[in-house]
Each structure stands twice: as structure tokens, then as C-alpha cells.
Amino acid sequence: MLELKKVTWSAPEGTAVLRGIDLTIPDNKLVVITGPNGGGKTTLAKLIAGLEKPESGSILLDGQDITGLDITERAKLGVSYAFQQPVRFKGLTVSDLLELAAGRKLSEQAACGYLFKVGLCAKDYINREVNATLSGGEIKRIELATVLARHTRLSIFDEPEAGIDLWSFNNLIDVFKELQRSLNGSMIIISHQERILSIADEIVVISEGKITADGAADEVMPQLLGGDMSCEKCPKIEIQYYGGDN
């Protein structure tokens, strides 16, 4: 179980980004975090993985306070994080990265298995450098594969569907379902995608740095579809699309 207690975080220049997050992520449930752009979802994921330290509040994993632990220590406790914006490396190959993720030498078969799961044909990619020549969708899939290779206690995926084509999307859904079955732990997916929301056990909505809804998927889903996310300063006019037949 992962618990966040009264967690706050402000950007270096002072803007309050997370404004008191109380959240419990139970084991063996798929929790999907959603909400408007800029609401604070990625920031929350970074706080859990240790990329950022909370200003106040605490983070507990299985009852252990991990607030003071650094990125490496949390990774060793089983926190895995697939970045929204994957990092590129000049020189490291896909198989290097998968082996670092798995923490051991991988047989070609094993390495290819992870790539296959994320819809990449292994022989085209296994020796490729994880550099700027990979397309957005390709690097995103490799990022997902590193987290699958780790297969740890807590996996966080930050918008895993971004850049992934529609055809592969169905397979991706299956990968998450399978991971949830095989993983004895917690899984968080940050997503805007209805299809991903539809496989959630629980949905958490974060907006303007606060949790505005949190509960069983079938309870939160209806609120989501009807909600108004604009503030009093946003113009209250409907966007007109020209040229279409709407």
C-alpha cells in the first residue's frame, strides 16, 4: 500500500503546484489518475518516485516512511516510473537499457519478450541506440518496456498511451491487465484516455493541485463526463469549429 499524507509541492519560483494531497493506493488494484493538463499529475508521480521532494507531508510505502529516501533507494524498494517524456541516450542501446532495468543480464529471448509486449519487433530494435533517431512512439514503448522488465512492487505509468497508435493501443490495454494480474503490488496509470479509464478499479481526479474526486471507477466516471473544469476567468463561450459539418 502506498500512502500520501498532506503532500504539498511548489515550483522553484514559488507557485503552489500540489496543494495538500491525501491519497491511498491499495495493493492489487489498478488506479488511474486523471484530470486537466497542468493539474499536477506528473508532479505527483515525480514525488512518489523521488525525483522531487515534497515541501511538506509524507509518503509511506507499506507503512515505511520513504519521504527522505532518494531516487535510487526508492527504486530499490520497488518503485518504478515510466516517464511521460522518456529520456534519450547517445550510446546506450535498447538491450543495455532493458538489462539495467531488469538488474541482470537478459537472454535475447527475454529481452525480445519485453519488446514484443510493447509492440516492437525485437530484431529491429534490440541493438538500436536509445537516441534521437527513435520516433516518439518508439521511445515511449521502450520506456514502458523498461518498467515491465523491472516488474516491481509499484509501477507508475505517466500517459503511456501518448504517441501510441490506435492499433497497438488494444495490445497495450492487455499488457496492463496482464501486469496487474502478475504483479503482487500496486499500479498507477496517469491517463486522459477513456479506454484506460474503463479498465480502472479506482479513479483519482487531480485538478489545480488538489484531489477533486477519488473512488471506485463506476462512481467517479459519471462525474468526470459531466464536470466543468474552467475557472471564473475562462471565457464562457463554446469553441466554434469552422469548416466542419458539426
Partner: protein, 305 residues
């Protein structure tokens, strides 16, 4: 051949208690072993210390190893090796160099290699340099490489210097005729007070010729590296150079590429980047469970692979 040479040979070349194909071993300025084969003939050079190597036209899949070792201080070895690669030949040439010093005296190896590639030939040229020993004597390796690429020939040069050499001045020049192709991959790591300077000078004279020059380097400690490249296109041709350097500690790198197009259809590109390891790369590897130091080591090792 002494024991130090044997160890150096293992580090810089494909030595496994001997060589399977043609070879010549140079130890402190003397030849301590040579073998020619039917297709690859190694002779002593007449006018200067060194070798003349003839590779018969059409030779395929063979290799020739010509390592040079300096095993103690107070040696200043200079050698001139010429390679004549016959039409349509396809060979691997391995020219490693190791310098070992246990005393305070300096040691230097200066290898001047000339390659003459006939029409349609293909050469993979590997060059690995190491410095060894506990002596404070300055270890220098100063290679000069001159490449003449005949019509539709291709040379791929892989050079690697991953530590131990105190001073290095590398000069590589090439002339490419019609359809000829040159690929150079250079990797240099310096640490402590080491200095490495590398200079490339490539002239593309023939239509459809190309060069791809990729240099990656890491400068740590108080070390210093200098990169100079001059690529000239005198015909419709394609030139690309890339200089990527990682600096750490107080390492310094200075890079100056030069491109000259003397033909309206010469396409020349240079890319250069110098900087510390990107923080986000370290962060990513730490999320996989590596410590900061482990992450840096992996990133550098991958970069210089």
C-alpha cells in the same frame, strides 16, 4: 618478445597466443615476429623504418595485424607503414599500439600509416591505443594516418583510446575519388593531466564521394582535448561530421570544425555538442535502481562504446 608486449598485444589487438592470419609485431622499434600469407605480403621498408604491405586484388575476408608496443621509458619509436590494397579486396587491418612505462623517462610511439585503396576495395581499419605502467614518464602516441581512396573504394576507421596515454596528437587526412566512402569513428577518454589533440583533413574530389566522421570524447579530471576537422567538397559529394564531448570535473574540450564547399552540389553538415552528462539521463538510470556513480559510469561506457 617479452611479457609486457604479450599483455599489451592482448589489450590492443586480436592476439590470442598468436595471430591466425598475416601479422607483424613491433617491440621497442624492432620486429619480433612476422608472417605473410599468399594474399597479404609484408616486407621491410627500404628507405625508412617500417613495413610495406601488399594486399592482392580480390582478397576477401582476410585480416592483417600490425601491433606496435613500447615496453619501457626512454624510447622514441617512429615507424612508417604503407598499405597497398588491391582492386576489389575486402580486408580487416588491425593496428594497435601500447606504451608501458615503469620509470620516470618518457616513451613515445609515432606511427605513420598510409593507405592506398584501389578501385572497389573495402578496408576496416581498427586502431586501439593504451598506456600502461606505474612510471611517471610521459607516454605519448602520435599517429599520422593518410588515406587515398580510389574510385568506389571504402575505408571504415575505428579508433579507440580509452585511457593511460598522457599525450596524443592524431592527424588523419584523406582524399576521396569518385564514389569513394570514408567512415571514421573515434573514441577518446582522457583523465588526470592528459591531453589529446585530434585533427582531420578530408578532401572529397570525386563525384558521389562521402565522408562520415563521428568523434565522441570524454574529458575528466584536469584533462584537455582539442578537436579540429576540415572537410572540403570539391565535387558533388556528402560530408557529415559530428563531435560530441562529455566533460566532467575540470575537463576541458575545444572543438573547431571547418567545412568548405567548392562545388554547388557539395552537401556538408557538422554537428557538435559539448557538455556535462544530462541530468535527466542520470535520473532515469537511478529510477532503474542505479546509484549516481553507477549511472554516470554506464552513460560514459555506452557513449564511448
Amino acid at each position: 618478445m617479452n611479457e609486457i608486449t604479450r599483455e599489451l598485444l592482448k589489450a590492443v589487438s586480436d592476439y590470442h597466443d598468436g595471430y591466425a592470419d598475416a601479422y607483424n609485431i613491433r617491440e621497442d622499434g624492432c620486429c619480433v615476429g612476422r608472417k605473410s600469407t599468399e594474399n597479404i605480403k609484408i616486407d621491410t621498408k627500404e628507405d625508412n623504418p617500417g613495413l610495406v604491405i601488399h594486399i592482392k586484388p580480390g582478397t576477401k575476408g582476410e585480416r592483417v595485424s600490425i601491433p606496435a608496443c613500447v615496453t619501457h621509458g626512454n624510447v622514441d619509436d617512429i615507424v612508417y607503414n604503407d598499405f597497398y590494397v588491391g582492386e576489389g579486396a575486402d580486408v580487416l587491418i588491425i593496428a594497435g599500439c601500447g606504451v608501458h612505462v615503469e620509470t620516470g623517462e618518457p616513451a613515445r610511439h609515432n606511427g605513420i600509416h598510409r593507405f592506398f585503396l584501389e578501385k572497389g576495395s573495402h578496408v576496416v581499419y581498427q586502431e586501439k591505443h593504451v598506456g600502461r605502467g606505474r612510471g611517471l614518464g610521459i607516454k605519448s602516441i602520435d599517429p599520422v594516418t593518410e588515406i587515398y581512396l580510389g574510385e568506389n573504394s571504402c575505408l571504415e576507421m575505428d579508433s579507440l583510446q580509452l585511457g593511460g596515454v598522457d599525450r596524443t596528437l592524431r592527424k588523419t587526412s584523406a582524399v576521396a575519388e569518385k564514389g569513394a566512402k570514408l567512415i571514421i569513428r573515434e573514441r577518446i577518454l582522457t583523465d588526470g593531466d592528459q591531453q589529446a589533440k585530434t585533427e582531420f583533413d578530408v578532401e572529397m574530389n570525386g563525384e558521389g564521394s562521402s565522408v562520415n566522421l563521428i568523434s565522441r570524447s570524454v574529458a575528466r579530471g584536469n584533462s584537455y582535448q582539442q578537436y579540429r576537422s576540415r572537410i572540403v567538397g570539391n565535387a558533388p559529394c556528402a560530408g557529415h561530421s559530428e563531435c560530441d564531448a562529455i566533460i566532467a570535473d575540470n575537463g576541458r574540450v575545444d572543438a573547431a570544425p571547418e567545412l568548405t564547399a567548392n562545388d554547388g552540389d557539395a552537401a556538408l553538415i557538422h554537428e557538435a555538442a559539448i557538455g556535462k552528462i544530462a541530468g535527466e539521463q542520470i535520473v532515469k538510470l537511478r529510477t532503474l535502481g542505479l546509484s549516481e556513480e553507477e549511472a554516470e559510469a554506464k552513460i560514459v561506457a555506452g557513449f564511448l562504446k
